[in-house]
């Protein structure tokens, strides 16, 4: 590999795809095909309706055999869509799959120049010429197989992450489930009921939490964050930060020689703790101590010390006693390393800070609350024991306004442009709950459109209508408070009646938009996953690969990929777990062989490339009395940063080698119809 490559006489086959009318609608296929025949090295140029179909692929394989082709060019869609397809067809014909090059004449041509057929055809000819130039210089490459670590990691232990971890572990894969909070359960554990079945959220979630905790294939790491990630599919090396919890689990206690010790979850410590803080699980509507659990059903049932609040008085240590000795107020964060083959990200969501929509007065008026606060107030295990009250005076509200699309579908620049997808349905559920719980109460639902898209959702919508909820189609312009009664005046336009409304209500519930959770940005960067403009993690393909990412071996589950309700989250989690288990069960993965290769006769051993490599894949070695660069293939990811800077041109980037790229540049600018 070290010397300059030698090529046999290239024999190239060009295949132009119509893609129905997607390409043929604006590009003259015959003209491109005839033009391709005039290009150097081109032996055969053909066309077909759908090159990606079986007959289309067969054309490629047959042409390779009949014409003894050495390179294939398909002018069709994006290589990001069908490069693997045509590589397989090339392989089918008996040629090395890397002797294939694609000319993108759909996404970057026919679709973006729909009304300029002449220019589009000329651009397609150029694209074919550029691709033929590269195909003439392509070489055989062998993908490298690497073994896959037989373990997986799931980041985030909401309902999606728990499901993914359960599936992976049940498939026989040891799974690390990492959760930044002290307990698993996520947002779903804060909900009261779930739509449209009205199942109690806790009743269906807590058994799952217990399953996760007890599953021998799952190593549960709560109060832990991802600190650093190295490696690639099959061999991720993840550094985790176990935040100082201040309380030992029974296992940890045993490891320290305190036999029979550790936290039993009795709560003696929290009874004596003198520090009172708002409980974030109850959204600040209930207190917790500096040593706390979020709620009685937490899993694992281990207390946690909030070291930001703790005054280290030691009362809890005393209460815990000498036998259990579970509390260690000098605990420090610990770092741990785990090696995993694949990763599922289930990072969840946060509620959009709806106070930014100041016209609705959240945080300014006592009786304007968010839907999640409503969930806690209506929940039997919530701070009011399930009695919905007005925060201003503790009275039971009778007239309750629900404001939908609060911050969603908002193009003012303050809110979010997207639909948060589950607010319509939970607001319908809320309406049902108050009709059921408060005699004479009337819910008023201010909506733009009711999106009841799922199975039995539309039926649920009709049911709530029949139960007496009032629906007013119109976006709420503003909300004003009566300073004496603390009642609220909701001003909106009823767009069905075409008249303005000023409605006095006792309580307003804002169905606030959702946004990516606070840690999403940091975590996605650690794993090299892209995000959309709104910050949601980007799937590899919106339709054909909704669980995968562009980083091989990293998969997505749940709302972190985009707003979705519980059934969709669980379904995607199962999909992600299945996808993540495939490389592990196969035992090895093939890496694209785009490695750097040192052409040792040209290498001067200057070492500039060694510092440029972000993966420490390059080093200098002594060989035959000279210093030359050496590539560790397992570490090289093929970015080509070294090859872009080598002063001597001594680095051969496989599949993107300098002669190949220069040939493309020359073919465009010097070849063709000048």
């Amino acid at each position: 590999m070290a010397e300059v490559k030698k090529y046999e006489e290239p024999r190239i086959g060009v295949f132009v795809c119509h893609c129905g009318t997607n390409i043929a609608g604006s590009i003259n296929i015959k003209a491109v095909q005839e033009y391709a025949k005039t290009l150097p090295n081109v032996i055969i140029a053909d066309d077909y309706q759908y090159m990606c179909s079986t007959p289309g692929q067969n054309k490629i394989a047959e042409a390779i055999k009949e014409q003894k082709l050495t390179g294939i060019v398909v002018a069709a869609c994006s290589p990001r869509l069908h490069e693997p397809t045509f590589r397989n067809a090339t392989k089918e014909g008996g040629l090395n799959p890397f002797r294939f090059e694609m000319a993108n004449i759909r996404e970057q041509n026919s679709w973006v120049h729909m009304h300029q057929p002449e220019e589009a055809t000329a651009k397609a000819k150029d694209a074919v010429r550029i691709a033929v130039a590269k195909a003439s210089l392509l070489e055989d490459l062998i993908p490298k197989s690497v073994p896959v670590e037989k373990t997986a990691m799931v980041v985030g232990a909401g309902v999606g992450g728990m499901q993914a971890a359960l599936d992976l572990a049940s498939a026989g894969i040891k799974t690390y489930l990492v959760e930044k909070e002290p307990t698993i359960g996520g947002k779903m554990s804060q909900l009261d009921k779930t739509f449209p079945t009205l199942d109690c959220s806790q009743c269906i979630l807590t058994p799952k939490m217990v399953d996760v905790y007890r599953h021998e294939g799952i190593e549960l790491l709560t109060y832990t964050e991802v600190e650093a990630v190295e490696g690639y599919i099959g061999n991720f090396d993840v550094t985790l930060r176990k935040k100082a919890r201040g309380v030992l689990t029974p296992d940890e206690a045993t490891a320290r020689g305190i036999i029979g010790g550790g936290c039993t979850g009795c709560g003696d410590c929290t009874d004596v703790c003198p520090v009172i803080k708002p409980n974030p699980f109850e959204l600040g509507m209930a207190p917790r101590k500096a040593i706390y659990i979020y709620h009685p059903q937490v899993s694992p049932l281990i207390y946690t010390v909030d070291f930001d609040a703790c005054v280290k008085c030691g009362l809890c240590v005393e209460a815990c006693g000498e036998e259990r000795k579970a509390i260690d107020l000098d605990a420090k964060d610990e770092l741990m390393n785990v090696k995993v083959g694949t990763v599922v990200l289930a990072l969840g969501y946060d509620i959009f800070p709806i106070e930014k929509k100041f016209e609705w007065g959240y945080k300014h008026y006592d009786n304007v609350i968010t839907s999640l606060e409503f969930e806690r107030l209506i929940c039997a295990s919530g701070p009011t024991g399930g009695h919905l009250i007005r925060p201003s005076d503790g009275e039971t509200p009778k007239r309750i306004a629900f404001v939908l699309c609060a911050g969603s579908r908002d193009n003012t620049g303050v809110g979010k442009p997207y639909c948060s997808r589950f607010c319509c349905m939970y607001s319908l559920k809320h309406a049902h709950q108050i009709i059921e719980k408060i005699p004479g109460a009337i819910p008023y639902i201010f909506y733009m459109d009711i999106r009841s898209f799922g199975k039995m959702y539309e039926e649920f919508y009709y049911r709530i209508q029949d139960e007496g909820a009032k629906f007013i189609r119109g976006r709420v312009a503003n909300i004003l408070e009566d300073p004496v009664t603390k009642n609220l005046h909701v001003n909106a336009e009823d767009t069905l009646l075409g008249r303005p409304i000023d409605m006095e209500v006792d309580l307003v519930v804002l169905a606030a938009a959702v946004q990516p959770s606070a840690d999403t940005e940091k975590t996605r960067r650690l794993f090299g996953v892209s995000c959309s403009q709104d910050g949601w993690l980007l799937e590899a393909h919106p339709k054909l690969n909704p669980c995968g990412t562009t980083t091989a071996g990293v998969y997505l589950a749940g709302v972190c990929q985009g707003p979705k309700d519980i059934p969709d989250t669980v379904a995607q989690a199962e999909g992600a777990a299945s996808a993540a288990s495939i490389p592990i069960h196969r035992g090895e993965v093939e890496l694209e062989p785009y490695f750097a290769v040192c052409m040792e006769d040209k290498c001067a051993g200057c070492g500039l490339c060694v510092n440029l490599c972000p993966y420490q894949a390059l080093s200098l070695i002594e060989k035959d009395g000279r210093t030359v660069m050496h590539v560790t293939e397992a570490k090289c990811k093929g970015c080509g940063t070294c090859g872009g800077f080598c002063p001597g041109g001594a680095i051969w980037m496989q599949h993107f080698a300098t002669p190949q790229i220069v040939a493309q540049i020359d073919a465009f600018l010097l070849g063709g119809e000048q």
């Binding site: 290589p79 996404e107 973006v112 220019e119 403009q533 562009t550 993107f656």
Partner: protein, 141 residues
């Protein structure tokens, strides 16, 4: 001044993970833009050897666009930073040989920014059209 029918020849070297995906997304969304740019795909803008760009200008390119991921979003951690540094260097080289450095452009378009790709295409074509044919065109013949 160039004749009215003159169209610029512009080459875009774009990274597989962000800008190429963004350009594909523009296609999916049927965003229409001027058809004067031809793309060469590389895995990362870090791969872009300054010599590729000089070769393109030597061959008579009227403009060169290099487009990669946003800073901090590089699929290979930091290739786009290194590419950006090289572009600054190259711009001063271009000025020294008498080429307007606006003929070389680096942009950052993510995989979700189809609309932005359309804007970039329009803007690059407009800029290069205003500058007219490259004075190095004769050299290429």
């Amino acid at each position: 001044m160039a004749d009215e029918n003159w169209k610029p020849k512009i080459i875009a070297i774009i990274c597989n993970w962000c800008s190429y995906a963004g350009a594909d997304l523009a296609g999916g969304a049927r965003i229409q833009y001027p058809p004067d740019i031809r793309a060469v795909r590389v895995m990362c803008t870090g791969r872009v050897d300054p010599l590729f760009i000089l070769k393109a200008f030597q061959d008579g390119a009227d403009g060169v666009l290099v487009s990669g991921c946003h800073f901090g979003d590089c699929h290979y951690l930091e290739g786009n930073y290194k590419a950006a540094k090289r572009m600054f260097l190259l711009k001063s080289v271009l000025k020294n040989i008498g080429l307007d450095d606006k003929r070389l452009r680096m942009t950052f378009v993510s995989a979700s920014e189809g609309a932005k790709w359309g804007h970039v295409m329009e803007d690059v074509v407009r800029t290069i059209t205003e500058l007219g044919p490259s004075p190095l065109k004769e050299l290429a013949r």
